[in-house]
Amino acid sequence: MKRNSVYSGLRPPSVAGKAGSSIVRAAIAVLLLVPAFLPFDYYVNIATQILIAAIFASSLNLLVGYGGLISLGHAGFLGTSAYVLAWLATRGELSHLWASLGALGVTTVVAGLFGVLSLRATGLGFVMITLALGQILWGVAYRWVSLTGGDNGLSGFSRPHPLGIDLSSPGSFYLFTLVVFVLAFLFVSVFVHSTFGAGLQGVRDQPRRMQALGWDVWGIRFVTFVVAGFWGAVAGVLYADYNQFVSPHVLALTNSAEVLLMVIAGGAGTVLGPIVGAAVVVLLKNVVSAYITRWVMLLGFVFVLIVLYMPEGLVPGVERLRRRTVRRGAEA
């Protein structure tokens, strides 16, 4: 590939190439048409769930894929945000906008606190601290009944009406979610290709060396942790609005594990990987469970296959196969 630039070839490979951007534009066009073409509300709702899961997985990917920090407590941010929104909108009697902003604010502060606690360690220590913190939140949601409604959760709030637009129909809420998803996608794309993103990936690969090159390793990890928590909170706001109901289930360890699987199955450290992973998991969960009762087994089976044949994840794996066939074609 030849670029007409003074620094031709000196630049790192970027997804923002010409071919890449036209694919992204085509994808957005298809996504916009989803409500018009999918015949039943059921499918539109699944598309919405995929987008919410994709935002959630993309936020975790910043930590796991780009920061090399595997977290098993990421559902804590989605759940905290959903609970705060639900609480403020019902018992706090705030308007939806203020409840959403409150949810984002509170969750971001929680992410800062959790970041300080869990970034005392890396590797397995980090995994265990995030797991423990996530379980504490789950325990609070489950046991502090007067605050959280316990097992019954919180309900009784409706979807927002931004600028007077009614989002109660599946199609309109899908488009609302799509707008947020595109914003999240753009943010993540820029973030990981920025000077800060280069530092984050350097810290993932050689933390000690990065420190000796003048980078504040802890600071970079902390900022990333908080940013990941913020976008997890955005997914949480959408989750609460979509379901109009929050229960302790959202904070369960299985939720943290599931989003981690989305990231790893799709391809950690790629922008598209978590989105593909989210689509695979949500589709398996919803569509397949309609036909097979033991869909969790099938989910497990699919993950075993991915780990065996594409351990780097679906997106990098397919890319590898494509390159190989192109090379074979050239040789033939």
Binding site: L10, F196, L213
Partner: protein, 247 residues
């Protein structure tokens, strides 16, 4: 008499009760070329780790241009003008040589904390990276991933990264180790081209190169400074002969 760039006062470091560096006191003037000598396990690299902040000393003080940096993190010391190379190569193998240099440049740049400045659009950084690579004769390989370059090229990249940061104090840990005769000559020329005002402390076993480069030599043995002086003084010192020749 010029000011001191680097001063160590009674610096100690033990690993699990085994002392690696014992009561090391030494001063390096601004612009000086200093050689650290000593047999394997003498504590030379540990001393570098302490000065850099990769390790924290158990006791003693380390001053950089008069400022006590003993408890300062490594990255803060880099911002005060300290850079080093490593004996064991610890670079970024998946990235291109230019990208490796860019990480070194960004480490000292304000934009290292900018999440909205696209790296690919930072022509200024890539330009400087190319210039830094040109200086060590690696400009042709700028776009090649580090993993596809030779050991000698990686050693030169190490130097290029340290020099790109325009340090005031440069620590070189065996810059010639494992290089061919030709590569040695290239690196030697490169060392000679370092601006005079930069203070250089070097660990090196190639005595021909090292002794011609350094003005003053410090000999370490079992973590202690045993002799310090000019080349002639060192060669004549009976303790050095004992350490090196066992006589």
């Amino acid at each position: 008499m010029s000011a001191m760039a680097l001063e160590l006062q009674g610096v100690c470091k033990s690993f699990g009760g085994v002392p690696a560096v014992r009561e090391v006191t030494l001063s390096v003037r601004e612009g000086e070329r200093r050689l650290l000598l000593g047999p394997n396990g003498a504590g030379k690299t540990t001393l570098f780790n302490l000065v850099m902040g990769d390790l924290v000393s158990d006791s003693g003080t380390i001053r950089l241009f008069g400022q006590d940096v003993s408890r300062l993190r490594a990255d803060r010391r880099v911002h005060l003008g300290l850079s080093r190379t490593y004996q064991v190569i610890t670079l970024f193998p998946k990235d291109t040589l230019a990208h490796n240099i860019v990480l070194a440049l960004l480490g000292l740049s304000r934009s290292r904390f900018d999440p909205f400045s696209l790296l690919a659009k930072r022509g200024d950084l890539w330009e400087r990276a190319r210039a830094a690579l040109d200086r060590v004769g690696l400009a042709k390989l700028a776009d090649r991933p580090l993993s596809q370059t030779s050991y000698g090229e990686q050693r030169r990249l190490e130097l290029a990264m340290a020099l790109a940061q325009e340090p005031r104090v440069l620590l070189l840990d065996e810059p010639l180790a494992g290089l061919s005769r030709e590569e040695r000559r290239d690196v030697q020329d490169l060392l000679a081209s370092i601006p005079r005002e930069v203070t250089v402390v070097m660990i090196e076993h190639d005595l021909d190169v090292a002794l011609s480069f350094a003005e003053k030599i410090t000999v370490l043995h079992y973590g202690q400074v045993i002799v310090e002086g000019t080349r002639a003084e060192i060669v004549a010192d009976p303790r050095v002969q004992e350490v090196y020749l066992g006589a």
